[in-house]
Each structure stands twice: as C-alpha cells, then as structure tokens.
C-alpha cells in the first residue's frame, strides 16, 4: 500500500510540470504583453519598460521559464500588484473560509447523494428512479451562479431565513447561518453528480455475477447492498468526487461572488477586476497544485477500496 502511494506521488511530478508549463505559456500568450495589459492603453514607453523589467519580461523566454520554475518550486509566487502582499499571504488569508465552504459542500453532497443514488438503482424505472434522475439532471444543469441567485432570492431575500450577505461576526451560530446557503448551493450540485454516478455504478454492480452468487448464498437484501454492492459501487463514486474537485473550485468562485463571501473565488474575481495578473497567475498555480494533490489522493483512496489496484 505504501509503495503504491509513493509510486502514485512520483507520477504526479510530471503532471505538475506539464500544468506549470501550460500556465507559463498561457500567460505569455497575452496579445501585446502583460505589462501593457496591466498598465492599460495610456502607459508611456518608459513605464512599460520599467514594468517589463519588474516582471522579468525583458529576459529571453527560456530564462523566464527557468526563473518561473525556480520561483514556483521555492514557493515564491510574486506579490499582488494591487495589495502589495505576497500571493501566498493573500491565499492564506482567505483559505480557511474556502476550506469551510468546500468541506460543508462535500458533506452535503455525499450525505444526500449516496442514499438517493442507491435507492434509484434499487428501484430502477420506478417513480423514485425517475424523480432522482430528474433531480440530478436539474442539479447538473444549474450553473452555480444561477442556483446561487435563486437560493438567495428565495431563502434570503424573500423568506429572510438566512442573511443576504456573509456576516463577519464571530458568533458561531451566525457564521453557520451565513455558511448555510453557499454550502447548500455547492453541495446540491455535487449531490447531483453523486446521485448519477452512484446510480449507474450500482446498476452495473447489481447486474454482476458475484451479486447473484451472494444471493445464492442466502445473503439478505440489506446485507447484499451494504456488504457486497456498495463497496464495489463506491469505487467510481470516489473518482467522481475527486474529479469534481476542480468543478467545485470553479463553482466556488461563482458562489463566493453571489454570496459575497471571502475566499479563493472572491480573490480571483477581485484579481480579474483589478487586472492583477500576478495574483491571477499565482492563484492558477495554486489551483493547479491543489487539483493534482486531490487527484493523487483520490487514486490512493481508490487503492484502499479496491484490492485489485495495489497489485497492478
């Protein structure tokens, strides 16, 4: 198991390089160059030159690439052009809030999605199957900002159950209340994914020969699902939740904007609006690293559930 985990970690390194290179190339693809984008149309030639020197853009491209890699690997992602804090500082400032939101959303998604997916598979083509399929398709069809706005209008503005803006109060109950809608927004969309994958995965597993073997042994329906089907059916669900992590980050950007909640997403939005390209680039690098780390963890979890993986 440990050697499998180590091997999987080693595999992540080339992926990280590809991703970093892609970000490097993307940033250099900007028409004109970053300096003129940052300074706008009215910039003088002198200030442009100064900005280029500051960003290291006057160096040859391969030197820029090496500097870029060196900086990333030493954790130096530059300073935000607008606040003057380092990118790492900026991120650490809002990270707890994003982690809270993400964990709450994942909990909601799994706690609601897993049972519903299992029920849909067990009652295939029954009303509960159609309802859960429709619910999950509706959930999948919501762009996160659309569902966020509808939740906001209905539950915060119209019914007044939750605050419209995220409060910065220290009262834990008040914080929980302001976490509820954003977490629900992200969580319900995740639930839609989980229902879908659980359903189709359980349908596949329930048709397997070994399920019939278990029935032939006299295994009761409850135990059949919990002991035999679920563990096998969970394998693709783990992958989806892991893969969904990227989408979750994307959706959290929209959710944080809608609910005016501090976090990584709000940080990106601010960087976009203030044309803070250093911060934007730094955030992309951090997201890339997060995605790779989560993918690797997903694969390792996979190995824990499926005994076959370790020996491949």
């Amino acid at each position: 198991m440990i050697s499998f985990a180590c091997k999987r970690l080693l595999l992540a390194i080339p992926t990280l390089f590809v991703m970093l290179t892609a970000i490097f190339v993307l940033v250099r693809l900007v028409p004109g160059d970053a300096a003129s984008v940052i300074l706008g149309d009215q910039a003088t030639e002198a200030s442009l030159r100064a900005m280029r020197a500051r960003l290291g853009l006057d160096q040859p491209i391969q030197v820029q690439y090496l500097h870029f890699l060196r900086d990333v690997l030493t954790g130096n992602l530059g300073r935000s052009l607008s606040s003057g804090r380092t990118v790492v500082q900026e991120v650490l400032l809002v990270l707890p809030s994003t982690i809270q939101l993400t964990l709450a959303a994942i909990t909601i998604g799994i706690v609601l999605g897993l049972p519903l997916g299992i029920l849909a598979a067990l009652g295939r083509n029954s009303w509960i199957d159609y309802v859960s399929r429709l619910v999950s398709l509706v959930g999948l069809s919501f762009p996160a900002f659309v569902s966020g706005i509808l939740l906001l209008i209905i539950f915060a503005i119209h019914l007044g159950w939750f605050p419209v803006l995220t409060s910065d109060s220290t009262d834990p109950l008040e914080r929980l209340r302001s976490l509820a809608l954003p977490a629900l927004n992200l969580g319900l969309i995740l639930m839609a994914y989980v229902v879908r994958v659980t359903r189709s995965s359980m349908l596949g597993v329930l048709g397997e020969d070994y399920i019939r073997t278990a029935r032939a042994k006299g295994v009761t329906p409850m135990r059949l699902v919990m002991r035999h089907a679920l563990r096998n059916g969970l394998i693709p669900v783990v992958t989806v939740v892991g893969l969904y992590f990227g989408t979750l980050i994307g959706n959290s950007v929209l959710t944080e904007i809608i609910f005016n909640r501090p976090g990584l997403g709000k940080l990106i939005f601010g960087a976009l609006n203030s044309r803070d390209y250093t911060l934007l680039e730094g955030l992309m690098i951090i997201f890339a690293i997060c995605v790779i780390v989560v993918n690797t963890l997903t694969d390792i979890t996979y190995g824990l559930i499926d005994p076959r993986v370790k020996y491949k």
Partner: protein
Amino acid sequence: MTIEVASVAVSQPSRLWLVFSRNPLFWLGALLLAIIIMVSVLAPLIAPHDPLEQNIVARLEPPSAEFLFGTDNYGRDVLSRLIYGARISLMVGFVAILIAMTIGCTIGIVAGYIGGALDQLVMGVLDVMLSFPALLLGLMIAAMLGASLQNLIIAIAITEIAPFARVARAPTIALKQQDFVMAGRALGFGPVRIMGVHILPNLISDVVVMSSLWMASAIRTEASLSFIGLGVPPPTPTWGSMIREGFDNILDAWWLAVFPSLAILLTVLALNLLGDALRDAIDPKLRGE
C-alpha cells in the same frame, strides 16, 4: 448474468426506438430544445420589442401586460433581450463544441492510432486539462485574450477539447486491431484514409451523443463567463450578462435575474435530458430488459 435470452428477434433500430419512446425524460428534453431553437430562429418575429431600445421612463418596471418579464435598468424589455440572448447562447455553445469536436477527435484518433510515446504524452497533457476546472481554464484564457465573442468561443472550445479526445481515442485503439482495419492496411491504404474512412465513422455516434452533453456544459461555461464579465461585451444581450445586471439590482428587481436564470437552466436541462437518453440508448451496459 448469463441468462440465455440472446436470440431475441428485435432489430437494432427498433430496439433503440423502444428505449427512446419509453423514456419520458427524452421527450421532455426534445420538446424543450425544439422550443428554444424555434424561439432563437424566429427572434425578430416574436420579440415584442427591440432588445436594444432604451426607455428611460420605463426603468425597472415589474412584469406587466406591456412588458411580460419587466424591464431593466435602461428600460429595455427583458423578454425581448431574453429571446435574442438565446441566439448568443446557442451559437456560442454550438460553434465552440464544433471546434472542440474537430480538434479533439483529430487528436484522439491520431494519438490512439499511432500509439506509443506520442499517445502517452498526449494523454498525459489531456488528463491534466481534464482535471483542471473548465470554468477557471476558460476564465484564464478569456481574461488573457480579452472579452469578445470570438475569444469567448475560443476559450470555451479549448476547455472542451480534452473530453472529445478521450472519447475518440478509446474506440480507435480497439478498432485499429480489428480485421477490417488490418485488411485496409494490407491493401496499402494510407493512415489518413484508414483513420478517416474506417475509424471515424465507427466512433462518430459516440462522439455525437456526448457532444449534446458537452454542449450543455459549454453553454453553462458561456453563461458563467458572461456573468463574471468575460463574455460578449454590452450592449449585446446575453443571458449571463443579463443576470449580472439583475444581480446588481437583486433587492428591488427580482425579475431581472430570475427570468434569464430560468432560460439558462431550461436550455442546459434540455440538452442534458437529450444527451442522457441518447447515451442510455447506446450504452449496452445500461440497456436491456
């Protein structure tokens, strides 16, 4: 299970038809999509007002007989803007998916057919692209290129290339070992001809089915980017930018955000319903009695 019902005399097309006709969700999706396409095609005929016409006296009017869905901050008719906005969403989604399909399938087929180190490299890069959130990738590209219709389409197309390449690659690897492809090679057909004539037609149905699901995700990304402010610049009406304007007035004019939200939801849902039913129908694992 190995129950022997193999020799059932139902032919393939009628079997597919059976699967469709019994799936109520398929019909719901088809109906919704047909309505949305009709609306966008007939926009000039059915829109009650000019979507760009400003009317300072009629600012932020709630829904009424004159303005069914109300008016916005400039007194423009929300319903008419919604109808014209359908054109942008469908067009961006369709063109972006067409581009992504062309590039993605080419990459997938070539990588799968040639195999070896090239395949490994390409798939490695694609896996990275796949695991990176589409919205952030699109956001990054659109932010770097600047907001315009063309850049929006490019940004969305790039985010959807990787899934197409994946779907095209797997069957290519299976197909290239089959007799008819081997026979083609023995007859001296070039690789381009084999890929184009023998492999592409065999995987196109999978690709088309998936493209309706991915067009849904493209339309979602378009709306999200427009909402963030990276979409088609104003005054062109798009659903995402309408919601952004509505969001700024959310406390006193709910209709500005709600109607375009429902429009996006219904469009994406229609495509998802269709794509889902189609995929169920061609996926032998989910099919059956």
